[in-house]
C-alpha cells in the first residue's frame, strides 16, 4: 500500500481519518487491529507534517490516545467490577460509532439542502408598501392628542435641561395670543406645519398654549387638519369659505 496516498484527502478531524482507515482496512469498529491502524494513522500524520507543519492539534491528541491504547493492549488485561476483561479500545470504538452515525445523518441532511437553497423567502423588511394609503386621513381629536403627547414627551427631556432657566420665567402666554399667531401665519402661508410651529415655540408652556389655540380654532370650524399617515406631521389648513386674519 502506498502509505502517502491519502494525504490529499480532506478529513474533518481525527475521527474522520480513523473511520476512513477502518473502512479501507475492512475491519470492525469494535475490533480494531490497533497496531496496524495506529501505524497507518501515524504514517498519515508524519506525511502531513513533512508537508505542512500546522497539523491540527486534534490529530496529534488522537495519535497520543492511539499510542496509549496500543501500549495498554500489550499489558495483561484489567478486569472491571463484573470481573470482565476491559477492552482499552472500547471507549474509542464508542466514539467512532457515534461519530459515524452523525456522518450518516449529515449525508442525509446534505441531500435535503438542494431544495432549501433553491427556495427564496421574502425579506421581511419590505412590507412598507402595503401601508401606503394614498388618501390623507381626516384627523380626529385622538390623533391630535397623540401627536401632542409625542411632542410633550420630547419636550419633557428638553425641559429637564431648561429647568433652571424656566424657574426664573414668569412670562404668561394666553390662548388668544396663540390664536392670532396661527391666524397671521395662515393668512401669510395658506397652510401650516403643526410640528414646525411647535418646534418654534420657546418652551413647553408656549407649545401647550399653541395646541389649545388650535383646538379652539377647530371648534370654531375655522381650520381643518390633515395628516398623510399616522405619526406624520399635521398640516393646518383654512376651511373653505372661511376668512382668516
Amino acid at each position: 500500500m502506498d502509505k502517502y496516498s491519502i494525504n490529499t484527502k480532506n478529513f474533518e478531524g481525527p475521527l474522520d481519518l480513523l473511520l476512513f482507515l477502518i473502512t479501507k482496512n475492512e475491519v470492525d469498529i469494535y475490533d480494531i487491529p490497533i497496531v496496524e491502524i495506529t501505524k497507518q494513522y501515524m504514517d498519515y500524520i508524519y506525511a502531513r507534517q513533512s508537508m505542512d507543519l500546522n497539523v491540527a492539534t486534534e490529530f496529534l491528541i488522537m495519535a497520543a490516545q492511539l499510542l496509549e491504547i496500543k501500549s495498554k493492549m500489550l499489558l495483561p488485561a484489567e478486569t472491571d467490577e463484573q470481573e470482565e476483561e476491559a477492552d482499552p479500545r472500547e471507549e474509542l470504538a464508542k466514539r467512532l460509532y457515534e461519530y459515524k452515525i452523525f456522518k450518516e445523518i449529515s449525508s442525509y441532511l446534505a441531500k435535503g439542502q438542494e431544495s432549501y437553497f433553491h427556495t427564496f423567502i421574502k425579506d421581511p423588511m419590505y412590507v412598507k408598501t402595503i401601508f401606503v394609503e394614498p388618501e390623507s386621513i381626516d384627523i380626529d381629536l385622538d390623533i391630535l392628542s397623540n401627536i401632542m403627547k409625542r411632542y410633550l414627551a420630547e419636550s419633557k427631556i428638553l425641559s429637564d435641561r431648561l429647568d433652571n432657566y424656566e424657574k426664573f420665567q414668569t412670562e404668561k402666554v394666553t390662548v388668544y395670543e396663540k390664536i392670532s399667531e396661527i391666524k397671521t401665519a395662515l393668512a401669510n402661508n395658506g397652510s401650516l406645519s403643526f410640528l414646525k410651529m411647535l418646534s418654534q415655540q420657546k418652551n413647553m408652556t408656549h407649545g401647550i398654549t399653541l395646541f389649545l389655540a388650535m383646538l379652539e380654532l377647530m371648534k370654531q370650524n375655522l381650520i381643518s387638519l390633515k395628516q398623510e399617515k399616522n405619526f406624520d406631521d399635521i398640516i393646518i389648513g383654512i376651511n373653505s369659505g372661511e376668512q382668516i386674519g
Binding site: 423588511m125 402595503i130 401601508f131 419633557k156 408652556t205
Partner: protein, 183 residues
C-alpha cells in the same frame, strides 16, 4: 418560454424581490421581451383580481410589484399590532418607546431614563430588527447609539405608539405638569 411558465416565474420573482421590479429586468432574466412580460404580468394581475387573491400585482410605470390587497389590510394591520403587543415584554416596550422618541440614544441614556439596566431589552429589540446601531456617541467611552429601523416604522405605522403602556403614563404625567404650569 411558455406563457404559463413565464407567469409563474414572474410570480416567484416579484415575491422574492419585494420591491418594484423592472419589466425589462424580468425580460432579461427570462430571455423574453418586454411585451411578453407585460402580457404575462397583466394576465397574472387579472387572475389575482378575478380570484380576489390576498395579493395584488401592481403596475408602476415600467415596473411591477407584489403587495397585499387593500381589502385584507385590516388583518395585516391587526397582525402587526398583535405582534408588537404580544411579543414584546413590558421592559422592551419601554426601551423601544424611549429609543423611538429620543433616537439616536445610547444605552446609558436609556438606563438613565428607565432607571434600570437595559441590556436584555436592547438585545431583544436588536434581535427583532426593531432597532439598530447608529454609530458611536462622541463622549467618554464612545458608547454605541441606537435608532429605530424601517421595520419599526412598519410596526409603529399601524399601531398607536401613545398606547404603549409606559409611554401613556409618561405623557400623562407631563400633561398634568403642563396643565399646572398653564393655570
Amino acid at each position: 418560454m411558455d406563457k404559463e411558465i413565464l407567469k409563474k416565474a414572474i410570480e416567484a420573482m416579484l415575491f422574492a424581490y419585494a420591491e418594484p421590479l423592472e419589466a425589462a429586468l424580468i425580460a432579461d432574466v427570462t430571455k423574453t421581451d418586454i411585451e411578453q412580460v407585460n402580457n404575462a404580468a397583466s394576465e397574472l394581475a387579472d387572475e389575482y383580481n378575478y380570484n380576489m387573491s390576498g395579493l395584488v400585482i401592481l403596475k408602476l410605470k415600467d415596473k411591477y410589484q407584489m403587495s397585499t390587497r387593500a381589502e385584507y389590510f385590516e388583518y395585516v394591520q391587526a397582525l402587526f399590532k398583535e405582534y408588537i403587543s404580544s411579543k414584546l415584554s413590558q421592559a422592551s416596550l419601554e426601551t423601544l418607546s424611549i429609543i423611538a422618541y429620543r433616537q439616536p440614544i445610547t444605552r446609558p441614556e436609556i438606563e438613565a431614563i428607565r432607571g434600570v439596566n437595559a441590556d436584555s431589552s436592547v438585545k431583544n429589540l436588536l434581535d427583532r430588527g426593531l432597532i439598530k446601531e447608529a454609530g458611536r456617541k462622541d463622549v467618554i467611552g464612545k458608547p454605541i447609539m441606537f435608532e429605530t429601523t424601517d421595520r419599526f416604522l412598519l410596526f409603529a405605522g399601524v399601531c398607536d405608539l401613545s398606547q404603549l403602556p409606559d409611554f401613556e403614563e409618561f405623557s400623562q404625567n407631563i400633561q398634568i405638569e403642563a396643565e399646572e404650569e398653564i393655570s
